[in-house]
Amino acid sequence: MAVALGVLMRLELIAPGKTIMEAKTYNQVFTLHGVIMIFLFLIPSVPAVFGNFFLPIMIGTDDVAFPKVNLMSWWLYVIGGLFALSTLIVGNGAADTGWTFYAPYSVRTGTNVTLAVLAAFILGFSSILTGLNFIVTIHRLRSPKMGWFQMPLFSWALYATAWIQLLATPIIGITLLMIVAERVFGLGLFDPSLGGDPILYQHLFWIYSHPAVYIMVLPAMGLISEMIPTFAKRTIFGYKAIAYSSLAIAFIGYFVWGHHMFTSGMSGPARVIFSILTFLVAVPSAIKVFNWVATLYKGSILIKTPLLFSLAFIFQFLIGGLTGLVIGALATDVHLHDTYFVVGHFHYVMFGGAGFGFFGALHYWFPKMFGRMYFEKTAQTSFTFMFVGFNMLYFPMLILGIMGMPRRYYDYLPEFTTLNVISTVGSWILATGIIIMVVNLILSARKGEKAPENPWGGTTLEWQTASPPSQHNFDREPVISVNGPYHHS
C-alpha cells in the first residue's frame, strides 16, 4: 500500500509540471505514505514480527511476560491501522500535512487530520505496551542460566529499543492529543495568531520522533548482529561493545531532537550543543559497523540471501549515516534543510537500513517460522533487483538535494529532469524486486523443502528447537553456551 503510494509519487515526479496528480493530492499521498510507513511498518515491524516470535526463544523461555497485554497491543495496532486507512474515505480527504503534522497548518487544514492523528496516538499506545512487555520479559523470564552478557545481541537491541518506546512515546501521545483538542475546540495552543507557539509543537514532536528513528533502526541493527556471525561462522567481534552501543544510541538519541529545527529558530548555543550531540550518536553507530566488518574478517563466509541483505545494510547504512553527519553539521544543514538530500538520507537509513535488515531477517528466520526453506536462487534475484533499484532510486535524491531541489513539491525546475527520471526508473526496479521477493516467500511457504532444525549452523537458542517451534518453544532444556551466544565450535 505505502510502497504503491511511493511509486505513485515518483511517477508524478518523472517530468516537470503536473503529470498524474494535483498538488493537493500529492500532499495527501506523501502524508499517507509517511504515516503508514513509519507508524504501521517501520516502528512495529521488527519488534512485533520478530521480537514477539524470537525474543522469548532467544532468551530461552516460552512466551512474553504478559501475553494478554501483547494481544491488546495487537488489537490497538489493528484499530490504529484502520483509522489511518479510513482517512482515505471518511471526511474531507486524507491529511495533507506531512507525517510531522506541523502546527499551525495541521490545526487549520480542512482535511481529516484529526483521524490520522488519533491513529498515530493509538499506534503509539500499542508500541508502548510492546516495549513494556519486552522489558519485563527480558528481566524476569531470561533463562536462569543466561547472564546479561550471554544474551543474543538481538535481545539487547530490543531491550534498548523498548526503553525508547516506553519513555519517548508518551510525549508524542500527549502532543497529538493536544492537536486533536485544538481542532475540536478551536483554541490555539500552537497557533501563533491565537497566542500559541508553533515552535513548541516542533520541539514536542521531535522529542519523540527523533528517538523514534532509533526505534526503527536499532532492532534492525540487532538483526544484522545475528546474521553476520551465523554466516561468517565466527563469534561476533566486540560483543560487549555492540551491546553497550545499542544502549548508548538509545540514550544519546533522546538529546538530539533539536537538529531537526536548526532553521526554525533556536539560539546559537543550543544549535551548537544539538549539533555536537548529533555527532556523538555517530560514534556508537560506527562501533557497530566496524565490529560487523571485523566479524567477517577471516570468517568462513557462507553467501546466502540474509547475508547479502546484511551487507547491503552495512553499505547503505554507511551512506545514510555519513549523510546524516552532513545535515547534522550546522553550516551544511542550512543549505540542505528541506531538500531532497534529507529525503535521500532518511530513506538510506530507514529503508536501506531498517527495511533491508527486516527483509534479510525474513529470509534468515523463514525456515524457522514456516518450517520450509525459501528458494535461494529466486531470493538472490529479488535481492539484486532491490539493491540496484534502491540505490538508483535514492542516490540521485542526494545529488538533487545538493543542487537545491526542495522536498514535498509535486513539481520541479526542468534542469532536475534527468536525475528525477533515473530515480523514478529505480523505483520500478525496486518495486519489481519487492514483488519477486513476496511471491517467492509465499510460494516457498507452501512448496519449499522441509527445513531442518538448524539450516544455517546458527548458535543462538532458536536453532535448538524444531522448525517451526512447538507451542512451548522448547521440547527439551536448551543448552546455553558458557562462551557467549555466538561461540562456533
Binding site: A65, L132, R140, L167
Partner: protein
C-alpha cells in the same frame, strides 16, 4: 508428545513481573502528563500575568476540598491493600467501596466547578473566554485539558477498582494473591499524585 515445561515459563505466576510492568506503565503515564507540565511551564513563563489573572477565576475552596478528598481516598486504598495482606477481606472490600465513593465525590465537585465556569462563558469558543487575553485563553485550554484528562484517569481508576471488587467476590483476588488489588492501588496513587501537582499549578500559584 510429552509436555516439557521450562522452569522459567512465561505462564508461571510472577508477582514481581506484574509489579514491574505496572511501575513501567506508571512511568509512561507520568511522562504523558510530563509533556503537559512542560507546555504549562513554558506558557506560564511567556504569559505570566495573563495566567495569574486567569487563575483568580478558579475556586480555591472547591479545589482544596477535592485535594483532601483525593488524599483521603489514597489513604483508604492503601489500607485496603494492607487489610487484604492481613487476611481481612471484609475490611478490604469496605475500604475499596470507600475509595470509589471518594472518587465519585471528587468527580461531582469537579462537575460543579466546570459547570459554574461554563455558565460564566468560560469555555473554549464561548463569548466571555474569547474576550480574554491570548495568555488567559491558553490557561483555560490547559485547565480543561489537564483536569479533564486527570478526571478521565479518576474514572478509569474507579472502574478498575470496581473490577477488583468483582475479582474479590469471585475469589480470584484473595489474601494469598492480591497483585491485582495492589496494582489498582498503585494506579490510584498515581491519579492522586498527579492531582497534587495540578492543584498548586492551577489554583495556588500567585
Amino acid at each position: 508428545m510429552s509436555q516439557f515445561i521450562l522452569v522459567n515459563s512465561g505462564h508461571n505466576r510472577d508477582d514481581e513481573a506484574s509489579k514491574l510492568g505496572m511501575w513501567l506503565f506508571l512511568f509512561t503515564e507520568l511522562l504523558l502528563f510530563g509533556g503537559l507540565f512542560l507546555v504549562y511551564s513554558i506558557y506560564r513563563y511567556l504569559n505570566a500575568d495573563a495566567f495569574l489573572h486567569a487563575s483568580y477565576n478558579l475556586n480555591v475552596i472547591l479545589g482544596t476540598i477535592n485535594t483532601v478528598v483525593l488524599l483521603t481516598s489514597s489513604w483508604t486504598v492503601a489500607m485496603s491493600v494492607t487489610a487484604m495482606q492481613k487476611g481481612n477481606i471484609n475490611l478490604s472490600v469496605k475500604l475499596i467501596y470507600a475509595t470509589i465513593f471518594f472518587a465519585l465525590v471528587f468527580l461531582v465537585i469537579k462537575f460543579f466547578e466546570w459547570s459554574a465556569k461554563i455558565e460564566h462563558g468560560l469555555f473554549p469558543g464561548m463569548e466571555h473566554l474569547n474576550q480574554l487575553a491570548p495568555g488567559s485563553k491558553l490557561f483555560f485550554f490547559l485547565y480543561y485539558f489537564m483536569t479533564g484528562l486527570h478526571g478521565l484517569h479518576v474514572i478509569v481508576g474507579g472502574i478498575i477498582l470496581g473490577f477488583v471488587l468483582i475479582a474479590i467476590r469471585k475469589k480470584r483476588t484473595n489474601p494469598g494473591k492480591y497483585m491485582f488489588l495492589e496494582n489498582a492501588a498503585l494506579y490510584w496513587h498515581l491519579v492522586d499524585v498527579i492531582w497534587i501537582f495540578l492543584f498548586p499549578l492551577f489554583y495556588l500559584i500567585h
